[in-house]
Symmetry: C2
Subunit: 360 residues, 2 copies
């Protein structure tokens, strides 16, 4: 199989961790006689520095014409980096929002898994996480407050800021279907999260999700208010299988869930549209403070590459190989600094990549 | 001192827990020769049952003309209660939103405290909470998505739902001032939470909060993105003193923080405007499943009554008396079911109220 992958190394630790993911992808390609062609494009701070904008039309075009996108991380320190002196629509994040929208990546999948080998890092008491947990957060990614009309204008002698939130039945239905499809391959439970006791978008959300559920009689659907979900993630994370929610709630809840695992350096993500195309990136940020020091954990990015093999290229066995290699390396006791614990062997970014390749 | 208190017992466990709070208020009045006059009004489900609407104009008028409002809890089971078959603006929550708006209660204070005696109930590992934590979440309560224009209408052959979010400089400034004032009496740190990398209301929020901060040189201001805050509450709750945020983010984060304490049955809240007037209610809900069984924990409501004495009536010593009585009762080993642990003595709602009175 031959595939064209657009690669966005990004800012901060992005370049280092993407290097390792490419190394692992190449090793898999070698083992199974596939060919992955990489075209590097710029986005975020790196693009601002080179072109004055966080994403050029040319870069976007290359992404559009590829089979998938592999992304490191973008952005810098929001208080010290000059990127954050620019107009909001010229800052690094604007590139990310634009590529999501332009590529139509409405379905964001963020697994939050407690790895047996890393449960020591979980901030929750052991009795709450016995047996581990494994949930998939399905976040709508191209609607809601993120892409509504906004303005800040003078009204009656003072500034007033406005953001608009909207969802159509189509937007809700397509992400809901995706969530139920994924639940069918997992533990057949969907928790749809909204604030239906207050806002209209949530009431429509609840209605459409309930309709979609009828086509999946084997899947249990439960509705949960967002404030309650924020509590339940801390109180009893084991109760969740697939969490389905809109863009802003998904941003907040997926980060909360990732912290509940205690190992955010291990969490991958995929952003998909209706066909096989997708963008894959770690759940964590660009960590500018540790950039270029060969200490960042590349595993989340490598797991994102594995998701790419599974979701975009249908290479299930290849994806499994990567996931198993990572588990082996963890069992062998190797850790990057962020997941280090007593009696384990600390390794750098590159070494971790090499170890995973060696275990493939 | 003589004060007129409007009392809303509400639904579910509301009536039982409010009874105990009134018992404690009367005991304090007796001790210090104050007089509290109570006028009961209906809101939520109880009002729907009696009048067909969740809050009548007459009830609102009584609340407006009182010196403060004591509230139990409102609402029922959203999937089984007939109240939730009604139009959204006739449901129990609509009464709550209306009274907040009509009384101008823009500043919602929600303490999240780890009680030494109850730290066993905290879901976080002990090393994360050593020494306890004590934060105050200051949530804007009359703006944002909760009170924006909403609609659901047919557009191009399908339903589209819209919610509007807006904040003016005035709205942000008054809650920010309140947060800094409170920080001055606490540990002099304000964490302002927003999503300034995406929405305009958050960018204006950050700007105005930074301006207000200039008048409080002793207070450290830090800005944090809402997704990061959702993580930090789990990872390191001790870092927070006052968290200042808008309505929807505050709803989510305050519930998350309350669960991090592990004892939501202990958490009070106050909703204030510029003058001394306020509405006081527990942070928890109406728990219809345990209503009328004399097992609900009345402490959050009693602590809310103490907040009323402090914030609305300037009765600091009286408030302290109540808080100390509660700590004594906990030290003596008495617990309601929700906070019960090994070797403690379980008591009912009424007994807990009596014990607190006895320790005053
Ligand atoms: C960088 C930011 C715009 C982005 C978001 O809020 O979507 C990030 O937090 C994420 O979750 O991918
Ligand atoms: C009942 C509901 C409308 C309310 C809110 O969201 O404000 C509640 O969750 C709260 O936090 O007081």
């Amino acid at each position: 199989m031959e595939k064209n992958i657009a690669v966005i190394k990004g800012d901060g630790i992005g370049p280092e961790i993407v290097e390792e993911a490419m190394k692992v992808l190449d090793a898999v390609a070698n083992k199974y006689s596939h060919k992955f062609n990489y075209t590097q494009i710029l986005m975020g701070g790196a693009s601002i520095d080179a072109h004055g904008v966080p994403l050029t039309d040319e870069a976007l075009e290359i992404a559009k014409n590829s089979d998938s996108v592999l992304l490191g991380s973008i952005g810098g320190d929001t208080t010290t980096s000059p990127w954050y002196k620019l107009e909001p629509n010229l800052r690094p994040e604007a590139g990310l929002l634009k590529i999501r929208k332009e590529l139509g990546l409405f379905a964001n999948l963020r697994p939050a898994v407690l790895y047996d080998e890393l449960k020591g890092a979980c901030p929750l008491k052991e009795e709450l996480t016995e047996g581990g947990f494994d949930m998939m957060i399905m976040r709508e990614l191209t609607g809601g407050l993120y892409f509504g009309k906004r303005s800040t204008k003078e009204e009656n002698g003072e500034l007033v800021a406005h953001d608009a939130m909207s969802y159509s039945e189509t937007e809700i239905r397509r992400i809901a279907k995706r969530a139920f499809d994924i639940a069918m391959k997992r533990n057949k439970k969907v928790t749809s999260v909204d604030k239906a006791n207050v806002i209209d978008t949530s009431r429509l959300w609840r209605k459409v999700v309930s309709e979609v559920a009828k086509d999946y009689p084997e899947v249990t659907l439960e509705h949960m208010l967002v404030d309650n979900c924020a509590m339940q993630l801390v109180k009893d994370p084991k109760q969740f299988d697939v969490i389905l929610t809109e863009n802003m709630f998904g941003d907040i809840l997926s980060d909360e869930a990732s912290m509940v695992t205690g190992s955010i350096g291990m969490l991958s993500s995929a952003s998909l549209r209706e066909d096989k195309f997708g963008m894959y990136e770690p759940s964590h940020g660009s960590a500018p403070d540790i950039a270029g020091k060969n200490i960042a954990n590349p595993i989340a990015t490598i797991l994102s590459a594995a998701m790419m093999l599974r979701y975009s290229f249908d290479l299930d066995q290849e994806a499994k190989d990567i996931e198993e290699a990572i588990e082996k390396v963890l069992k062998q006791g190797y850790r990057t600094a962020d997941i280090m614990s007593e009696n384990k062997t600390i390794v750098g970014t590159k070494e971790m990549g090499d170890l995973i390749v060696a275990n493939l």
